[in-house]
Amino acid sequence: MVEFTALASQVLVGLSRAMILFIVSAGLSFVLGVLRVPNVFHGSLYMIGAFSAFSIATWLGGHPAGLWLALLGAPVVAVAVGLVVERALLSHLYQREHLMLILFTFGVMLVLNDLVKLVWGPDYRSLVAPPSLQGAASVLGISVPRYNLFLLFVGPLVAAGMWFVTAKTRIGRIARAAAVDRDMVGILGINVSRVFSAAFMIGCYLAGLGGALVAPTTSITLGMDHTIIIEAFLIVTVGGLGNIWGALVGSILFGVTQSVGLLVWPQFAIVFPYLATVIVLLLRPTGLLRSVW
């Protein structure tokens, strides 16, 4: 009924979408796990990453290296914005209850949205991938856009990087410890505030990187923050709050059910990822993997 090549190509493009979702939701999940902050303006940092990538690439006048520099520079812009918000405002609010934090970060999202409008204006922006990543490539007889193959390569790299940071570095281990017992880490003489700040920066970096990576595949517009933040929160919930590997599993579930759903029932494919989410949460209310909350 469904051809093998059709299925394989849908799985591949679904997985490549999942890589972007993973990078963004891993950042959200990490901040949730370590700081216990449901960061609603995470999506705005993703949008800022995309717009910055556009500016950096345009500044280089369409040089093929534009995207590569954008991938390096745009996350730094997101981190800079995140650092200002965290140091100036958020760091004074960590002890507040979650509802307050949601309201606060939601407010920041509105402010950042207007800020993006002031800086970049309301026009659509568009970034062209370097020639080596344009067009489609044939993999085992399946035609897949080269850029999607590139995403399939970047995603695991980021996952490996996150594993290294959380498991092997001092800051990662302290961050995990602080997530479990903040006071105890403080008593041991570690500057918890600085650890939180560093963890928050990692989250911002991932949001900005996600935005820069998505930039050549879509219209860079105001409002892209809303779309991503809803999906990212769903993925984090499905995967298990604060669990980065949960974010990976959730992203793959989300991306692949949508792309394969399009083969099965194209008219109603929108509902498949959400349906999968509902089923998972009915069977496992705390998410697929262990939640750190």
Binding site: T5, Y124, P145, P216, L222, P266
Partner: protein
């Protein structure tokens, strides 16, 4: 009260800014004892703001010309409200503009759902409402009435034009991919209705619908490519359109399967895409700044470019015509009476950048030509433009007055 009025006036003059030059006082005695006040409701935030601002710029450019000599000795002034792409917000702003700002007439919007909501209110209040971007055929079709006018083309015209073009091609197995909102449904229904009428043997291989703002259309397009239809019709606009075009090129589908999209040849869509836009996509539109190459169009483009730094899009063309329709109708009516204004606007003909355009009396729909072209990269531009342009006259693609009467059930 008068103090408040003058403050409002001052703010207005400041808002109008550089768009309208403060001309010298009229030499002859003014025949209207006050300024003509237009209330504009449109989307000025979020992605659709690109189109809202373009229409407003076209309107302001026309006002600068009109207010040099005035209309019956009076200036046309305007206030804007941002409806944030929400029909509820748009409706409450229409109320505020009519009841508190006491505007003479309403103009807007990009959102078809908002246009329909304001239209119902305009009918109830007997206030003229000129729709300038929204394309739902219901506006001047089944939901049309004495007080609503459309200065832009609509989905009935576009759907018919596309069907006319495709009926001559050998494709019979179609796929429909569209965005799930009023415009997406309206343009798709219209296209398929005319397609079936003009070429009964066409079949629908399948359809896919996505939500507005869907960032990644690659899985949608690869799934369509796998179904191997003869041609694909996309019912999408704005940022969604940009995404479809980009993905058609990235997946290589545009070189294998013909794609057709209303407004695919829109400059606002093709310019930001640059060379990421695919060649060979068939598109329709009612305004192109580089075609026809008549003095009227070239002068309009030159003036617009000088004022706003870029060429006008189709919304600017609609905005420009809307202002001239308003000015001419008031001159013809010789008063600001709303009933006389409506009577004067019915059947009124004005000169536009693309030639004479009539406001058809039976349905209040501007009789605009539609251009059909194919996207192509040519050396002198960094972006794609439409080539092999064919023109369909408005009368060829508009529903007949009988069709309109039937649709309105009268």
């Amino acid at each position: 009260m008068t103090a408040k009025r003058s403050v409002v006036l001052l703010v207005l003059v400041l808002t109008i800014g550089m768009g309208a030059r403060p001309g010298p006082l009229q030499a002859q005695a003014p025949r209207l004892d006050r300024a003509i006040k237009v209330g504009i409701i449109d989307t000025y935030s979020g992605p659709p703001a690109v189109f809202g601002n373009d229409a407003l710029n076209g309107f302001k450019l026309a006002l600068a010309e009109i207010n040099k000599d005035g209309v019956l000795g009076a200036r046309i002034e305007f206030v804007t409200r941002d409806e944030r792409f929400s029909p509820e917000v748009g409706l409450s702003m229409a109320r505020e503009l009519v009841l508190q700002e006491r505007v003479d007439l309403l103009v807007g919007t990009i959102n078809s759902a908002t246009a329909l909501a304001i239209s119902a209110y305009a009918k109830e209040q007997k206030v003229p409402f000129l729709v300038w971007i929204s394309k739902s055929e219901k506006i001047t079709g089944q939901s049309g009435h004495r007080y609503v006018f459309s200065t832009g083309e609509n989905t009935a015209m576009a759907g018919r034009a596309i069907a006319e073009a495709l009926a001559r091609k050998p494709y019979t197995r179609y796929w429909i991919g569209a965005e799930d909102y009023e415009y997406g449904h309206s343009i798709t229904n219209s296209f398929w209705r005319f397609m079936k009428r003009m070429k009964p043997e066409v079949t629908l291989a399948g359809q896919s619908w996505w939500r507005t703002g869907e960032p990644d259309l690659v899985p949608y397009v690869t799934a369509i490519a796998n179904a191997r239809p003869d041609a694909v019709f996309f019912g999408t606009g704005g940022a969604g359109m940009t995404n479809v075009l980009r993905v058609l090129k990235a997946t290589g589908m545009s070189s294998r399967t013909p794609a057709v999209i209303h407004t695919a040849i829109d400059h606002a869509v093709l310019r930001p895409l640059g060379t990421a836009a695919p060649e060979g996509v068939l598109g329709t539109i009612d305004y192109l700044w580089y075609y026809p190459e008549t003095p009227a169009n070239q002068n309009f483009v030159k003036a617009f470019q000088a004022a706003y730094g870029g060429p006008p899009g189709f919304p600017a063309f609609h905005g420009y015509n809307t202002a001239h329709f308003i000015a001419e109708a008031i001159r013809k009516a010789r008063s600001l009476d709303r009933e006389k204004f409506v009577d004067a606007l019915e059947g009124l003909k004005i000169n536009t950048p693309v030639g004479e355009v009539e406001m058809r009396a039976c349905d209040h729909q501007a009789v605009l030509p539609l251009f059909i072209g194919t996207t192509k990269k040519i050396p002198q531009y960094e972006f794609l433009v439409a080539t092999d342009i064919a023109t369909l006259r408005g009368e060829q693609v508009m529903p007949t007055c009988d069709d309109i009467r039937k649709a309105r059930g009268s």
